[in-house]
Amino acid sequence: MAEQISIEIDGRTCEAAAGEMIIAVADREGIPIPRFCYHEKLSIAANCRMCLVEAEAGGRPFPKPVPACATPVAEGMKVQTRSAKALDAQRGTMEFLLINHPLDCPICDQGGECELQDVSMGYGEDVSRFSERKRVVKDEDLGPLIATDMTRCIHCTRCVRFGAEIAGVRELGATGRGEDMRIGTYVESAVAHELSGNVIDLCPVGALTSKPYRFTARAWELTSEEGIAPHDAVGSNLYLHIRGEQVMRVHPRDNEPVNETWISDRDRFSYEGLSSDTRLTEPLRKRADGTWEALDWQAALHLTADVLRGSDPDQIGWLMAPNATLEEAYLAQRLLRGLGGRHIDTRLRRQDFRGDRADPAVPWLGLPIAELERQQAVLVVGSDIRQEQPLLAHRLRKAVLDDAAVSFLNPYELALTHPARQLTAPPGRLSVRLAAVARALSASAEGAAGSLISGAQPAEAETRLAEELRAAGEQGRGLVLLGALAEADPDYTLLKELAYLVADAAGCRLGFLPVAANSVGAALAGAAPHLGPGAQALEAPGLDALAMITEPRQTYVLWGLSPELDLFDPSRAREALAGAAQVIGCSAFRTPDLEAACDILLPIAAFAETSGTFVNAEGRWQRFQGAVPPAGDARPGWKVLRVLGNILELDGFHYSSGKQVHDELAALCAQTRGGGAQVCDGGTQPDNARRGDYGLKQPLPAPDGLMRVGNVPIYAGDQTVRAAPALQHTPLAEPLALHLHPDTAAGLGLADGDAAEVAQGERHTVVPVVIDDAVAPGAARVPAAVPGSGVLGPAMGPIAVAKADASQLAATQMLGGQPA
């Protein structure tokens, strides 16, 4: 704790920590000091010279005005922010900033919310003394997200420092000297970082603005509603900026323990999906000839109720997107269980559910998000964390910058912006390498884990990783995390058991990276085959998400998902759905696979259109209100479920508000505390302790061929983001392709750019080959959830690869990814 001292700003006595900058003290005291380059999350540049103030220390005035952002306070310092000398310095800087700035605010997208415009009101002159020619700067194309108007740039370098310090990629930099200094990308290239959109907020002027939003509204036409991001388990806090009934753009809402002041591009630009022409806007029934007939809600709900009532409850399979709200998840399982059904799940991209009995009831991060950056050693097992959880990746990067040792065990090496140890193995073999870490920690166990450990031979990497974890564990700052690539692994349960053994042996905590915005909430709500509401373990579990497909049901409810892109095995899902008597789709989007599979389509509200609650990775319950009305005739999902419950005459469906649903579940969770479901609003969070032994006898046999790695690329994970056009045009939006390690490719006789036929069982398609030495040898990375991937089988599983004729590739691509 820094020494507390006392200084004086404008005659007011202020408490400060020694070494703090003047501007930080002034900000806390509410004393305004104008600034442009200063940003509390970025390093101090002190280059804009707007925050010059007059100061004296030890009774001696500084000879020159000093920058408040870069001048540390000292006991007894006296600061004048508005003395004649300070004001002259500030006005002088303002004049310099404005001489080359186009003073055409009415046609600037930033007009009305521009820091330069605001500050010029206080420090600028009415008439300029500058009568020379103004500077004009050529714009750069930074890609589909960020629009540039570089003539407006005031060279504060916030965007440059953001890249270097926060993103970890120097995508923007300054070239040229003096008046010719330019901010740009050196060589023209699109900005391709998952947090890049934050430079739009950082830019104090109209130089960097949002390309999708640009010139569609003025700041003063917008109202602002609070929201929670629906894409990952961070639950970033948002402001939704609304005009009329439309979300025009999304900004971050500061919440230091959650998203600090940042949001990912996915959270920022996915709102575009809300106005996509693929929205489902009215209830539909499929006619016998396969065409669609519009229904009114009354008829549609009765029809749906009839289907559910007429189905054998054990024949109903309810598949639900893990970003459905807590209220939807809770009501859905109540409705299904009220009818006598048991099969409901949100864990859609998983194949190995053997651990359900022994898993913690609510697998969660295991620690507050903010504590990630204070870890000393972290082992991440099976996560492309930058793509899965961009802001958690940012926290880990901060830990690394603070000298933490971070290691990854993945089917492919990640493109990281910080040093890290990366171990790779194909799916199904990750457990072997993890066992080597356990061995290095002298962990022992029975059964499958034990035999793997005793057979393991730790190499130097595993040994050093083990040492780091142990050393960090002794400090209480060690962590083992399991992510989405682990969750999809064929031997996920064994991976989990080994991860527990490693964490226990090293004295580290164990955490899960929940895949979606409400994965934790779904467990709490009981939208899982093995859990009831409050996450109570059930004696007689229902079928899990994969079993509902492999043991086909007669009736399906698909909630908020597209079966070919959101389920683990799209081909088997297609077959199961085709064979079902009735499929009810509740969705905000109308996608070809849904239309093919469903008999009834009910339009439900999308993100921003419904109230609800998401429980994030750290167990934080964040409730939000609907900000805009749902598209067309769509209705909030919880209301659809409420009415269905009433029509079906189920007890206790007479809710008057979503809040009431929330409160009922919160009360239940409070009751079941101790039953393992302690992750609760405001409550203390338990560790992720196992409830029992996994009891695996044998590891899965080593795959004898290639294993597919069906990772979910960053802009493919859910319906909304897939419908957001700008994101789909970024370099991060991956097309369907086969990524192979050079050695693997050589063994198959494949070269970069070749066409290859990839086959899983009888399902096959032709894709281009990308040689990529990040992929583990023996693995074939073919992303899931991207257009064209629906024709394939399990996201993680055996895959056959053969060279194909390039003309087949062209034919496949012409058919939009469908097999030729």
Binding site: N47, P67, T93, F96, T157, G178, E179
Partner: protein, 429 residues
Amino acid sequence: MVDHQDTVCFRTMRLRPKIRHTLKAYRSVGGYVQWERILREKPSPETLIEEIKLSALRGRGGAGFPTGLKWSFMPRNKPGQKYIVCNSDEGEPGTCKDRDIMRYNPHQLIEGMAIAGYCIGATVGYNYIRGEFYEPIDRFEEALLEAYQAGLLGKDLQGSGIDFDLYTHLGAGAYICGEETALLESLEGKKGQPRFKPPFPAQAGLYGKPTTINNTESLASVPVILEKGGQWFLEQGRPNNGGPKLFSVTGHVNKPCNVEVPLGTPFRDLLALAGGVSGGRRLKAVIPGGSSVPVVPGEVMMETDMDYDSIAKAGSMLGSGAVIIMAEGTCMVKVLANLAHFYAHESCGQCTPCREGTGWLERVLERILHGQGRPSDLDLLDNVAGRIGGRTICALGDAAAMPVQSFLKHYRHEFEHLIEHGTPLVEAA
């Protein structure tokens, strides 16, 4: 001029031009004796630093900061890498002395850097040389090779356990990289932009490690100070202004030259060494320390001595010792426009007042020069210059502002005449 036996940086000047830059020639004037003594005897660095302090050697790059004091700021016993960096980016208009040290006496710079490294605890040195200096770069590189081959640089030198490695780095033509922290940025491979201080380089310099940056002439003076003693060096000049100093006399003189003279030499003697004002004309004005310092009218200058304190009294600065002579008939508007262009071109662009203001000054002056001035321009120039000076991270802002303010102070009537009549009061000489 300094007597042969009393020369410091030009110690090898009297030797044959073909060989005077070689190791052999340098050895013949007593070169590397001090470095080898240090390697042999390992005297305490503190006593060496005391000797430098006693000599009153002040930084020869322009700021005039006491070199010994600067060295004493280094946390020399702190573990970890430390660096000594020589600033040979000599870019101050009018200055060409460091170039000649590297051309004619490169080994003395090497010895000075090695000793400095020993004093501050640095085992690695960089000489950052202005990129346009083809011959000096070659000479310095040759000298480095010789010194390495002679076992004067490298690891465990002469069995002493002392390491010192020295590398050359070439600048790429930016004036601002002569500013010491911009030089460090450039040396690290980044865009040359001054850093905000604190932290000072002695705490966090090159690659974030404690670093001392000295001018070429300062470092090249060190071996002679140790050889002849700090007291001797001090006595060569004046109290608080120790030693002889190199002056580059340019402009309207008959014999532009680099000369080494004792600090405190009367300006009129220095002018005589340069052969007097060319064409027998009257002296109009002098910029006594490189283009960044205020101009001094000729008659004031003729009564001034060439040392830090005397020139300060005359209202200017000794700077780098670049003495720019302007004869009667020089159009001061044109001179200032030329200077303003230079600073606008060389501003790094990071601080708002300098980035925007230097270009503004240049444009207004160009306008005046082309007969499109307005009476209000002069107050505008003075005011704009005042809003740049003292408000930027580095001194380039001051350097751009000071000429404007001093020219307007001493020669305002020339500007007014040009604005009023559209033609200069005096034709450019």
